[in-house]
Amino acid sequence: MNGVDFLRRTMAIVWKDLLVEMRAKEMLLSVLVFAFMVLVVFSFAFNPVEHDLTDIFAGIMWVAFLFAGTLGLNRSFQSERQNGALQGLILAPVDRAAIFLGKFISNTIFMLAVELVLTPVFVILLNYRFGGSTPLLVAALVLGTVGFTAVGTFLAALASNTRASEVLLPVLLFPLLAPVIIGAVRATEAALAGKAAQAAEGFKLLGAFDVIFLALPFVLFEYMLES
């Protein structure tokens, strides 16, 4: 299989996921609502009128995105288990790596869509006075999300084979994600404050993580799904 075919097949999987999502709208909506809920819970827990939440704004944002994103990741392979759809995918004349890459891309698109909608909402509801740099913020969100979905897609595929996958996925995922959580929150903080040098530090960490954890599942996925 040559490179062009590989990419075409990957995009076919991405297109399939996007189409399913556009028809059913179940995952995107539930993830959106859940992330919004996390924000509301935060406001109840730490009264935003009395406390200044601007210091931990980046942290709140990422907690909401990561928790909500985990729900979405669970769906991405669980839904394939119905009617033997996953079997169909595995039996299709497609490189397994293409399945991983396709799933990774569609999950990343979903997550970024959620973040695109919710970041302004968070800014408004928490009365955050945005004075930073937008390109830096976008870079922080994209790099953090890629790290999250790269490891998350791989682990979701693994966890979907277990009985209690909904619980198991976050248990496996969050320790492995420790560098992403640290890097993404720091980089976002720096971006919101407009500190380019500090953001660059975070980008370095996130970039290294993203490259390693995209390459590893890409190689390993071949061995993970046996028919």
Binding site: V151, L158, F174, L176, I182, L205, I212
Partner: protein, 218 residues
């Protein structure tokens, strides 16, 4: 059983060196003597996880079940030794720094490591299907080990942004302290090998039970 005897001799020697031969550390006093076995526990934890990593790769390449058994047994021992290191570290921290826990980079990294491999044990016991479970666990064993250095790096960076509350004072190791350290490391490494052999035999017995049950069912 020869290894068992060797272990007993080396163990007693290590205790003798740690308690009676090694000089007392000036600022920390007697509790510093936990250090020898605390560091040895942590060393064993990393050794076990390295074995998990190598055995996982070997399993994916060969599909031989014994590699999967080795990886699982080693992961179990690794979690055990990490727990030992955490507990003894906390007791040491309480006596030297006055707090049970501090988010010191090394402590935090060890805690994250502990959680990753508890996840590994989880998935190895709950995944469906023998072959598939082994493959999944191997994937996690490989990915988890790659994460270790990145976690160390990120956690150090994370902490460096906060004021350092406590510092592990730079310890000048005297030669006799080094000797006690080496003896403790040797003892614990031998302990690891000994327990791993035993644990593998246990897994084989379990396999035999499953096989006999299968025979009875037919």
């Amino acid at each position: 059983m020869r290894l068992g005897w060797l272990l007993a001799v080396v163990g007693v020697a290590a205790l003798y060196l740690a308690f009676l031969v090694a000089p007392e550390e000036a600022t920390m006093g007697p509790p510093q003597r936990i250090f020898y076995f605390h560091v040895a526990s942590a060393w064993n934890a990393y050794l076990s996880f390295l074995v998990v990593f190598v055995a996982s790769i070997m399993f994916l390449r060969s599909s031989a079940r014994r590699w999967d058994r080795l990886a699982f047994c080693s992961a179990e021992l690794g979690v055990f030794f990490t727990s030992m290191a955490l507990v003894s570290g906390m007791i040491w921290g309480r006596s030297v720094w006055g707090v049970w826990w501090t988010w010191d980079p090394r402590l935090t990294a060890t805690l994250v490591l502990w959680m990753i491999y508890i996840g590994y044990l989880f998935i190895h016991t709950t995944a469906e299907g023998d072959e598939r479970r082994a493959r999944i666990a191997a994937g996690l064993g490989i990915i988890g080990f790659f994460d270790v250095p990145i976690i160390h790096m990120s956690v150090r960076w994370w902490r460096s942004l906060h004021p350092e509350v406590v510092r592990i004072g730079k310890m000048d190791m005297e030669p006799l302290m080094g000797l006690a350290m080496a003896a403790a490391m040797l003892t614990f490494t031998a302990f690891y090998v000994y327990m791993l052999k035993w644990r593998l035999r246990l897994e084989e017995l379990r396999g035999r039970v499953a096989q006999l049950k299968e025979e009875l069912r037919v």
